[in-house]
Amino acid sequence: MKPVDQSAAADMFIADVQHERFHDHHLWDLRKGRDQERDQIPEWETLRQLASDIKAHTLTHLADYLEEFERNATANGVQIHWAQDAQEHNRIVGEIFAAHQVKTVIKSKSMLTDECQMRPYLAELGITVIESDLGERIQQLDDDQPPSHIVVPAVHKLRGDVAKLFARTINSDPNNDDPKVLSEAGRQSLRPHFLAADAGMTGANYLIAETGSFVVCTNEGNADISANLPPLHVASVGIEKLIPRIEDLGVFIRLLSRSALGSPITQYTSHFRAPRDGSEMHIVLVDNGRSARLGMADFWTSLKCIRCGACMNTCPVYRRSGGLSYGSVYPGPIGVILNPAIDLHRYRALPYASTMNGSCTSVCPVKINIHEQIYQWRRIISEKQELPLLRRTALDVAAKVLASPALYRRVIAGVDQVSREFPRALIYNPLNAWGLQREIPDAPKATFHQWWAKNRGADHE
């Protein structure tokens, strides 16, 4: 597959000033909301460490916990399925639905089913899947555009975009772009789908080994309707979502929505342990590269991720580029470190969509060292010769210069001359990315070495 050109896609997003500005400001507001919540909880940093440690323990004992979960869930009357990859996941879900003559499915948010490209697969089997989260529904109605953020899927759209889309797809008033009116139109149009669905699907935020139960966190109530109305509930879950005990939820639930949206908790925190009388509950446990990642010394801790999106909200590159520019189900900093393991060639540009400021790492509720993993991916991309020619040449030159102190000093002394005397066309051309969208600052009159020799050199000799 052709490599994703994140930078070119970001250029298009940035060119639309109105969208880019709202996106940037709104996501930063979510980050500020997160900080306000953090400041009200004295044990916040302790909770982050606990969350990180609980996840580390679970992942280093994952096989045992998966077996414990399976045993307890089966005893509760839940049917467990195992899928090695996306294809097997889709086949299993298709078979469950075929066995129950399911034609329509009402589904709440699940990044995993997007990762598996489940909707198009089921469509070919004649099964219609309706997304019931408003943001996901907006994206589905917009010609199946992928979500651009893992928590707020349509955050790259403005109210006018939604008004036009709803007018075209669900017959709402094209001249009314009040978010309240539009949300109500969304509610009214989804209600019949809830009532008509043959089956409900959800993801899960946590699987609990101790009880064999799973937890789903939503704000809209859509997951609870999907799970409690039709006689069949299928949940697709990645194997890394396990935690050992119910009491561990105290840590994760306190962190999740505060980190994601700056709210103390999601409106609904739903714990499913066993099916209702007369209904069936199925869980599909999906690997799809996760067990392989567990064996990557530098990258396995990315499996701790609880999908809160805090790293996206704080990332200056994500906020200015929009999630769609990453060309993946998982955008932003977490996507930057998840995707190259899935397809190094396709996602080779993503680790460069970072300023390496480390803000993602600072806000991550499970303390994943995201920016350090970004750096590690850059090393691998360079070793595997996946760097584009221009970047490779530039880095080769830099490597030679930085390896030799004498050469480095000569080059640095010349920089001033470059920015003063070189024609603009040489500095501000497409080959020099640093000259795009910014003026190169004037270099200082003397280098540090020159300054030191002049001002302090004598004292030390």
């Binding site: 323990h57 539009l182 109500e184 109530g221 925190t269 714990h271 342990r273």
Partner: protein
Amino acid sequence: MSSRDIILAQVRVNQPPASDLPKVPLFDANLPSPWPQFQASLQRMGGEILDCPEGVHLNALLAQHFPQAKIIASVVPEVEGNFNVVQGEDPHHLAEVDVAVVRARFAVAETGSVCFTEQELVINALAYLAQHLVVLLDVNEIVGNLHQAYQRPEFQMARYAVLHSGPSATADIEGTLVHGAQGVRTLSVIAYQRTPCVV
């Protein structure tokens, strides 16, 4: 080998060196007084408190608060509704309910949450298909924070246990908060002592 066995084998081979499971403290020293804290948290989450003045019957209070409501489905003995919710019945017919009245199993002060299980809801979908949800809460049954909440037996025993923190909400269109996304439009809590069980 089955997919299950292949996945488990691969996980076992790749598991990094073992690390310990930490103890989780309750973080419950110096928690604020539960009922005032619960009210503040609930309001933050978009829920409301309905005061029931002494001598006023709950039926009258609800009639006054929801003048448009035609169908009131009550699953608590304290309120008389006009719609029967029968365990085991098809949940789809609950779509017509205007107001559902249920009792909370317990509440969480930190987050303004009320907990229900399948026992309180009778039919789980009742708490989502109704337009408005009214919750009776015994103020003696409020825990301080989520750590205390997860000590409760409901999460071990119930088939379905849910924390509602205010009504359903969305901010998916330009970040504008709207209550009444796909579930209930409002959630009101009435402080009302649990009637002692007479056997």
